[in-house]
């Protein structure tokens, strides 16, 4: 049996869903996107073109939830289905779109550059615990207007794992799509074997901004999965009670699924989010608050009840350096998400709310993820009888290290951490330099980067990706992209 967290009673789930359907009619959803308003209107939803408020009938939303696939796969660049959205599968990717990086040498936040993100992508490739890449940071050495597509360009040059990404503009989405098509080989191949998911954020409460709504529609029409990132901030942009915040989340996601399915029936879309229990002292959006985790687990349960694949932003910290708070918060969120069966848990490496990425935190988080996945594997009988034969054979001798049974099972029963986790003796620890976890993590970063081998990517593909990116950058005043770090 797999350990599972159900944070809501089934009655509460039902009531949340019922109230969410009601919100879709009254007060309805604000949709600041003409194509979506058209789609909703044509399908029979009452639409007020003046206020841009659409009222979505329950039946329409229900139909959409029916036609949206309950599961799909993401493929790696070797064509293997490595990520499963659906059921209780649990996978992890790094947090995305950080504005800063915690510099390894100075431990100060600074603007990320091309080389930083390339190293980050390499690290993610090297960490087996992490299932997918993400466009994790915005590089400061290209024009801001192409910051979103440039990170995808860099990642595609160094990765094999699938990627969670997103666009910050309507026009850049198309360039990003062209890059993915180039990598997949054809538009059709990309539909058959998706390698990327786009995050799309409704604005709380109950609003679809033009940009994210268009991104979602374009994804649907082009067969690219999208991932709803609904973020009720309880007490600020959503009611303060956790259950009510989950109602709002459900209504926002239902409206997204409806628009998506009207754009293209059967388009893959994920029930996801990044809510926060708003901090009433600092006015911030803590990712490390226990109530934030509770909202996430609750909406994941609601999404599952509706047959949707799920996502959550969890396993992050609000700490500003890689310290005790950082470990505490990241572990708490990651474990809760794993137990709740969230299909894709985004957040590894991320700290200072959703502002900053850290290499050291990423490798520490990989250990947390390894342990969380071990927890999910559960306590299994392994043999029949479980213990009787073996224990009768040994009697009262404590001689298990010498048993073939131990050799056979130990590395299936135990998650073996890297040297980031210290389990040595005090003396041993001192001999190795009395290093803190953060210092050991820094060592591991160096070691992993030294062992990274770039994937084989044809010259033509590299050139095509570079041309697509350069064309976009030219429109914003940059003729020549920063050089791509050595790929050999």
């Amino acid at each position: 049996m797999r350990p599972k967290l159900n944070i809501l009673s089934s009655e509460l789930v039902e009531q949340i869903i019922a109230e969410a359907y009601e919100l879709l009619m009254d007060p309805g959803v604000r949709v600041h996107n003409d194509e979506a308003l058209q789609l909703l209107g044509d399908a029979g939803a009452p639409v007020d073109l003046q206020t841009k408020i659409a009222r979505i009938p329950q039946q329409m939303a229900q139909n959409a939830l029916e036609t949206a696939p309950s599961e799909f796969h993401l493929y790696d660049l070797d064509g293997r289905p490595v990520v499963h959205y659906g059921g209780d599968s649990v996978q992890f990717d790094p947090g995305s779109a950080a504005i800063t990086i915690l510099d390894s040498d100075t431990q100060q936040q600074r603007v990320p550059l091309t080389a930083d993100f390339v190293d980050f992508v390499k690290l993610v490739e090297m960490l087996p615990q992490i299932d997918a890449q993400s466009t994790a940071m915005i590089c400061g050495d290209v024009p801001e207007e192409v910051g979103d597509l440039y990170r995808l360009y860099l990642a595609l040059n160094f990765m094999r794992k699938p990627i969670i990404t997103g666009a910050f503009r309507k026009d850049t989405w198309w360039v990003m799509k062209d890059m993915l098509v180039a990598v997949a080989g054809s538009a059709d191949a990309l539909i058959q074997r998706p390698i990327a998911v786009f995050d799309v954020c409704p604005s709380p409460p109950l609003l679809w901004s033009d940009l994210t709504c268009q991104n979602m529609i374009d994804c649907a029409k082009n067969g690219i999965p999208s991932e709803l990132v609904s973020m009720p901030l309880s007490g600020a942009t959503a009611p303060v009670t956790l259950a009510a915040a989950v109602v709002q989340h459900a209504a926002e996601c239902m409206s997204g699924v409806t628009i998506c399915q009207l754009a293209k029936r059967g388009a893959p879309i994920v029930w996801g989010g990044s809510p926060a229990a708003f901090d009433m002292r600092e006015g911030t959006t803590p990712m490390g608050a226990v109530e934030t985790w509770m909202i996430d687990c609750a909406y994941a349960q609601v999404g599952k009840a509706l047959g949707m694949p799920t996502h959550a932003y969890l396993g992050m910290s609000d700490a500003k350096v890689v310290d005790a708070q950082c470990g505490l918060e990241s572990a708490g969120g990651a474990f809760m998400a794993a137990l709740a069966g969230v299909n894709m848990v985004s957040g590894a490496g991320m700290m200072d709310f959703e502002s900053c990425q850290s290499f050291e935190k990423l490798v520490i988080d990989a250990e947390i993820i390894g342990m969380a996945k071990r927890l999910l594997a559960g306590v299994q009988a392994r043999e029949q009888p479980i213990a009787l034969d073996l224990m009768r054979k040994l009697g009262h001798r404590a001689d298990y290290l010498a048993q073939p049974h131990t050799l056979k099972w130990f590395n299936k029963e135990l998650y073996i951490p890297s040297a980031v986790i210290d389990r040595g003796s005090l003396d041993g620890w001192k001999k190795k330099g009395s290093k803190t976890a953060t210092r050991r993590a820094a060592d591991r970063v160096t070691e992993l980067l030294a062992n990274y081998h770039p994937p084989e990517i044809s010259r033509e593909l590299r050139r095509e990706l570079r041309e697509l990116t350069t064309d976009a950058a030219r429109r914003f005043g940059m003729d020549e992209l920063p050089p791509l770090p050595e790929v050999e």
């Binding site: 504005i99 801001e144 207007e145 942009t237």
Partner: protein, 214 residues
């Protein structure tokens, strides 16, 4: 009687009861109290207590925001009276604030606007996704001495520079001090685009604004 009425207004702010603030203000006006007295001896002391308690950690944001809303509703009631008497409230200054074009993040901007208003500034909040032209025309119209520009995306930070350029083109750059803020904004960026100041959070924004007008 007078003291009692004023204390009632003060307490209503401290207790976070905007309806009582409005009611108390109406009673005070009916009793013939001067609007400026109601403000200085009823409303302002209340806001001060709330502000102090927030600083010491006893009060939280909801206390602060609800008190600010009570204060604002009371001011709306007092405004016509003040006009009639040709009196004006001493403001620390006038601020136009908004989130720049292409950006719809509003929470931080609204917090800053609320605290500026509670601190005694006249605030015009233009909302989100505000174009450079709208900022320029509102600054002109209100003769504001301060302009606050919020941007939460690395892609929209550049719009802060565009607003500053637009102020310059309109020939009013030297009439207004420009404050910038939002998660990706830094001191360095502030200098790069030639803004006059930057603050990390809402409390810092109030200090910055006071500094810039003094």
């Amino acid at each position: 009687m007078t003291l009692e009425l004023l204390k009632r207004i003060t307490d209503s702010l401290v207790d976070g009861d905007p309806d009582a603030t409005v009611e108390g203000t109406r009673l005070a006006l009916d009793a013939g109290l001067a609007p400026l007295t109601i403000i200085s001896d009823g409303l302002v002391p209340g806001m001060e207590v709330v502000g102090d308690r927030f600083q010491t950690g006893e009060y939280f944001l909801p206390h602060l925001i609800i008190a600010a809303s009570g204060m604002q509703q009371a001011m709306e009631l007092l405004e016509p009276e003040l006009k009639q008497r040709h009196e004006v409230v001493q403001r620390l200054g006038t601020v136009v604030i908004g989130t720049v074009q292409g950006d719809i993040h509003e929470i931080g901007k609204t917090l800053v606007a609320t605290l500026l208003s509670a601190a005694g500034f006249q605030v015009y909040d233009l909302g989100v996704n505000v174009s450079a032209a709208e900022f320029v025309s509102k600054v002109r119209e209100t003769n504001a001495g301060l302009l606050g520009l919020s941007a939460l995306l690395t892609t929209t930070m550049t719009a802060q520079r565009q607003v500053i350029d637009a102020l310059r083109e309109a020939g009013i750059r030297d009439r207004v001090k420009v404050m910038v803020g939002g998660a990706p904004v830094s001191q360095e960026w502030t200098e790069t685009i030639g803004a006059d100041g930057y603050a990390e959070d809402a409390v810092g924004a109030v200090a910055l604004a006071k500094n810039l007008v003094s």
